[in-house]
Each structure stands twice: as structure tokens, then as C-alpha cells.
């Protein structure tokens, strides 16, 4: 069996197109992460900083603010900002915000209505007399979101209870620190979706390539051609895809950690958006996002193998992959069908954006049982992966009959 696995891997790695795609993919993973860092800018005391210097300086400034976002600090900090704005004859001034933008955006997001984009102007409109009730406002916003009227159907009582319990269970007050490093890491993981193309390209010829090389007949007449050889193809394809995506993710994480350190790994994800109803740290969220990417990779691999097993042309397989994994992101949501909206929430590109998944409060109710978007994604993706793998297993033999 080891020999079969070795030769199946050799077939994948020997193809020139695969070698080029893998090299470009890894290069892209490096470039995306380095460019994110290089793209950061910060102006402090009239001096413009760039890249690592800008990130580290902002970390320094933000870390110096406080350790914890208690109501007292939040109120006094905002009051001071509003005082500065009021004393400034030209009004809004971004230089007041820039070096502490992570904290200011947290205020702005928390006090913007759930269905509106945040605006820095919001900061001036928050009443500070008697405290700003930051955490009450968070729960109020979540309740408004859950009680709103939706043309495609409202949340049931069971759903509301499910989400409110989750959101209320998040510990407050939030610890504070700079989240810059982990923002870059998290964004970098989101960009892994482009690597799905590389996986599709490398896996598409696993079965279809046998027909293209005219080796299928030979393979099927050997002792293990109808069982172990197919198993080896499936196993090596899954292992290859998962390891490749994990490698790209770890390369990105590694670059950021090496250049910026690990600071902020234990900060709560609510520092990104107070709507998030899960009590995760930044590192946990990044690992979870990488897990989601690997889940999508499993389905992509299984789907590709299934098409490859019944097709004679790897190009057709790759085209179908692109349609399913990228094309479905353009499916429009419905104004009347909640079911349709829930289905399109499960398409790969939507699922790969974990930050969006976490704040949209999408769920799948079955009577009193409520399954979260993440839970349903896991169930559906695993189920489809198994089905597609079985179809690939049978398809290669049956279509040759």
C-alpha cells in the first residue's frame, strides 16, 4: 500500500502544471501576508510610519491605553475624544483616531445600527452623560437584530433564545490590547480561498488523467486496480489537499508571528466586532477559520475526485470546480425565501469568511433544535464529502463498463 501511495503522490507532484501551480500558490501565500504588513501605515506626531514599524508603534500606543474595557474607561475615553472634537474648529479629524483606530472602530460598530455600516461620525453622537452603557448597548443591538422584521421570515423564539444565551455568555468587560497582528493573520487565512484553485488543478487529473493517459484500462486489470489503487488515490488526494492548505495557512501565520510576535493571541474576538456571540480568543478564531478552510478543502477534494472519476478531461473537472466554489458566491439572496438564503449561506466562499459567518446570526432551526451556521456547515460538508468520495470510488469503475 505504501508503494501505491508513493506513486500516486508522485503522479501529482510530477506534473509540470501542478509544480507551477504549487509554487505560485505558496508564493501568493507569502506575498499576501507580507503585503498586508507592508500596507500598514500610521502617522504619529507628523511622522509617517510604514509596515512593521507602523504596526509595532500602534501596538505600543494601544497597549498603553488600558488593560480592560470597563465602563468607566470607555466612558471617559470617549468623553475626552468628544471634547477634543468639540474644541477643534474644523470638527472631525482622523489624526485623533488613527493611532487608536481599533478602539474607536469598536465604539462605532457597537453604536451603529445592526443593518448599517459604521461611520466615524457615530462617535460624536454617543451620549456620555451618566456612562455609555457599552455592554448593555451590545446586548440591545443583538436583541434588535433578532427581533427585526425580515421579509423572508423572522427569528423564532427558540432561535432568539439560542443566540441571546450565547451572546450573554461572553465574559465582560473585555480585556484590551492591540489586535493588529491577529487581524492580519485572520485576514490572511481568509485569503486561502484562492488556494482552492491550486487544489482543484492538482486533484482534477487524479482519475481523469488515467483516461487522458489511456492507463485506465491497464489499471483496472491489475489485482489491486479496482480497490487498493482507488483507495490510494482517494487517500493521497485528501492528504495532499489538506496538507497543502494547512501549509499555506501556517506559512502565513509563521510570517506574521516571526515579524510581529504573538501579542494579542488571547484577546477576545469581540474586539473585532461586539456582535460576535462566541467566547473565543483571537488565536482560537484563527484556528477555527483555518479549520473551516480545511473543511471546505475536504469537500472540494471529494467533489473534484467525483467529477474526475466520471470525466475523461481534467479541464472540465477544473471548470466545474470553479463554478461551484467561486461561481456560487454570486448567487443572489432572496427577499422572500428564508430556505434559499440559508442554502446559499452554505456555499464555500460565504463559509470561508468566518468574520461574516460569526456576526450574521444565521442558523438552521428544526423545531426547538437550533443548529448554528458553523454546526450546519460541518454537518453538510462532511455529509457531502462522504457522498462525493463514495461516488468517486464507484464512478471510476462503473463508467468504464
Amino acid at each position: 500500500m505504501r508503494q501505491l501511495l508513493y506513486f500516486e503522490l508522485k503522479k501529482i507532484l510530477d506534473r509540470k502544471a501542478n509544480q507551477i501551480a504549487l509554487l505560485l500558490g505558496l508564493l501568493l501565500a507569502v506575498i499576501c501576508n507580507v503585503m498586508q504588513i507592508q500596507g500598514e501605515t500610521l502617522t504619529v506626531d507628523g511622522q509617517e510610519l510604514k509596515g512593521i514599524e507602523a504596526i509595532l508603534r500602534q501596538q505600543e500606543i494601544e497597549n498603553a491605553l488600558t488593560d480592560e474595557l470597563d465602563e468607566e474607561f470607555l466612558t471617559s475615553f470617549l468623553r475626552e475624544y468628544q471634547r477634543q472634537i468639540a474644541s477643534n474648529p474644523s470638527g472631525y479629524n482622523y489624526s485623533l483616531i488613527e493611532s487608536k483606530s481599533n478602539l474607536f472602530s469598536l465604539y462605532a460598530k457597537n453604536y451603529t445600527e445592526w443593518n448599517e455600516h459604521f461611520d466615524w461620525e457615530t462617535l460624536n453622537k454617543i451620549p456620555t452623560e451618566g456612562g455609555i452603557a457599552f455592554y448593555d448597548r451590545r446586548m440591545e443591538k443583538i436583541e434588535t437584530l433578532l427581533n427585526a422584521d425580515y421579509s423572508y421570515g423572522n427569528y423564532t423564539e427558540a432561535e432568539k433564545q439560542y443566540w441571546l444565551e450565547k451572546a450573554a455568555a461572553v465574559s465582560t468587560p473585555f480585556p484590551w490590547g492591540s489586535r493588529n497582528t491577529w487581524s492580519i493573520i485572520w485576514n490572511g487565512i481568509g485569503m486561502l480561498c484562492y488556494q482552492f484553485l491550486v487544489v482543484g488543478l492538482c486533484i482534477a487529473p487524479v482519475f481523469a488523467g488515467e483516461c487522458q493517459n489511456r492507463t485506465d484500462a491497464l489499471l483496472l486489470t491489475t489485482k489491486y486496480g479496482k480497490n487498493r489503487a482507488i483507495f490510494a488515490k482517494l487517500l493521497i488526494s485528501f492528504t495532499f489537499s489538506v496538507l497543502y492548505i494547512a501549509l499555506c495557512g501556517l506559512v502565513g501565520m509563521g510570517i506574521n508571528v516571526a515579524l510581529l510576535g504573538t501579542e494579542g493571541w488571547n484577546l477576545p474576538i469581540q474586539l473585532w466586532d461586539t456582535l460576535f456571540p462566541y467566547e473565543w480568543t483571537a488565536a482560537q478564531a484563527c484556528i477555527m477559520n483555518l479549520g473551516v478552510m480545511l473543511l471546505i478543502t475536504l469537500l472540494l477534494t471529494a467533489f473534484t475526485l467525483m467529477l474526475s472519476a466520471v470525466s475523461k478531461n481534467p479541464v472540465i473537472v477544473l471548470a466545474a470546480d470553479i463554478l461551484l466554489f467561486f461561481g456560487t458566491a454570486f448567487l443572489p439572496s432572496s427577499k422572500s425565501s428564508g430556505l434559499w438564503n440559508r442554502i446559499i449561506c452554505l456555499v464555500p466562499l460565504h463559509c470561508s469568511d468566518l468574520q461574516n459567518v460569526l456576526k450574521t446570526y444565521n442558523d438552521y432551526p428544526f423545531g426547538n433544535l437550533v443548529i448554528s451556521h458553523l454546526g450546519m456547515m460541518f454537518l453538510v460538508y462532511m455529509f457531502l464529502t462522504v457522498i462525493c468520495t463514495l461516488c468517486a470510488d464507484l464512478g471510476f469503475i462503473l463508467t468504464k463498463r
Binding site: 508503494q3 501505491l4 508522485k10 506534473r15 493517459n213 489511456r214 489499471l219 486489470t221 479496482k226 463498463r401
Partner: protein, 232 residues
């Protein structure tokens, strides 16, 4: 040692490619003749278990053609021999040996022997994409012999071989046929004349003739033309 085909048929929608062929093959070399589209390749692919017959059964010493044990005694060279262009000749044979269930140490020894036999030892570490047509065909023959098959099925095995290689190949097949069943199809009548003990002829999916070569068909070409007179 016996390969039994019992009323084997293959039908594709309205077309019958092989029509109730019954055969009993024992040790020896069998030459399968027939015009293009007569059903030779379909029959061979069914004997090799690639295609599922729509009717009838194929068994070797009681082993059904769909089972793993049947495939372990089988050697096959397809008409359109496929290969992995980025593999070397040695890689290809080692891969085929793994598929045929040969232990690794045995596979290396056997692969080296066969590369020597088909005169490809010097090209063992060269990528197959650089091989000539004749070299690829010889590699195909080598892979078919890896597991010392009791049933060897060769579809157009001499295509692409030069006259010297063809003579070597005929001798090799004749030797294998002494202890095993060899079924070969070819358009080259001289191959059949020199190697085959028994001639099988197919026409429109049916087996129209089965007989020993020495049974009165000294001039096989004339006999062949006679059988296919209407078509020609």
C-alpha cells in the same frame, strides 16, 4: 488451467458488439483475427474484466472475471497502451508491480529482469515521454509479464515493433504459451502463423471459426480472405 467463456455478449444500446461467444481455452497461444469492428477488443476487454458482459460468464479455473484473484493471474497489453509520461521505465514497472501485488524486493528484481528482456535496461531511468513507439510497446509487454500471468491477453502486441523485435517477441510468446494461456489479437497474419496454435476468427461480434492452425490452413492469408470474402 482453463478459461471458459459461456455465451458472452456485450450490447451497447442497439448495437451488439459481442454476440454469445462461447470458448474453452487451455494452455497455448490463441490468435484472434477479425476485421475492424468485429468485436475483438471488446471481447478482450471483457476477458480482462474491464468491461462487464451484458450476458454470459467468463471464468478462469472457476474464478469469475470480476474477482481480485482472477486479476492476479492476468497480464494485459491494451491496443492503445497508455503510460505516465513523467515516470521512468523503472518507475512504471514498479508501480505496475505494486498494483499487481508483488512484494517490493521481488518487484525490483522482476522489473530489472524484464527491462533486460525487452532490451530497455539502458533506458530504465529515462522518462517514458522520451521513448520511441517501439520502446513504449516493449515496456507495455514487460508490464504485462510482471506477475508471470497464467492468462496473458495481448491486443495488437507487435504494433510498432521492428522486424528484429517482432521475432524476439514471437519467441517469447511461444515460450510463455507452453505453460500458460496466451490470447493475442493482431492484423499481422504472419504473427499468427508463427506463434498461434489455435486461430479464432470473429465477424460482427460472433465467433465464426475456431480451429488448430495445422488443420488444413497452411496458407492462413488465403483462409482469412475466404472467411471475410463478403466484406472484402
Amino acid at each position: 488451467m482453463e478459461l471458459i467463456l459461456d455465451r458472452v455478449s456485450k450490447q451497447y444500446q442497439s448495437k451488439i458488439a459481442v454476440d454469445r461467444v462461447s470458448l474453452k481455452l487451455q494452455k497455448g497461444v490463441y490468435g484472434l483475427l477479425g476485421a475492424n469492428g468485429a468485436g475483438k477488443t471488446t471481447l478482450m476487454r471483457m476477458i480482462c474484466g474491464i468491461l462487464q458482459p451484458t450476458g454470459g460468464t467468463i471464468a478462469f479455473d472457476g474464478l469469475d472475471s470480476s474477482c481480485e484473484d482472477y486479476r492476479s493471474i492476468l497480464g494485459y497489453l491494451p491496443q492503445d497502451f497508455g503510460y505516465y509520461p513523467d515516470f521512468t521505465g523503472m518507475d512504471f514497472l514498479l508501480y505496475m508491480a505494486a498494483l499487481k501485488g508483488l512484494p517490493r524486493s521481488c518487484a525490483k528484481r522482476k522489473a530489472a529482469q524484464l527491462l533486460e528482456l525487452v532490451d530497455l535496461r539502458d533506458k530504465a531511468r529515462t522518462k517514458i515521454r522520451t521513448y520511441s513507439g517501439g520502446m513504449k510497446q516493449r515496456l507495455g509487454i514487460a508490464q504485462a509479464l510482471l506477475n508471470e500471468p497464467k492468462l496473458l491477453v495481448l491486443d495488437e502486441p507487435t504494433a510498432g515493433l521492428d522486424p528484429k523485435e517482432r521475432v524476439r517477441f514471437r519467441n517469447l510468446i511461444a515460450e510463455i504459451g507452453r505453460d500458460n494461456i496466451v490470447l493475442l489479437s493482431t492484423h499481422i497474419l504472419s504473427d499468427i502463423e508463427h506463434i498461434a496454435d489455435t486461430v479464432l476468427m470473429m465477424k460482427s461480434g460472433q465467433l465464426i471459426y475456431q480451429g488448430k492452425r495445422e488443420n488444413g490452413q497452411e496458407d492462413l492469408e488465403a483462409f482469412y480472405m475466404e472467411q471475410f470474402e463478403e466484406e472484402i
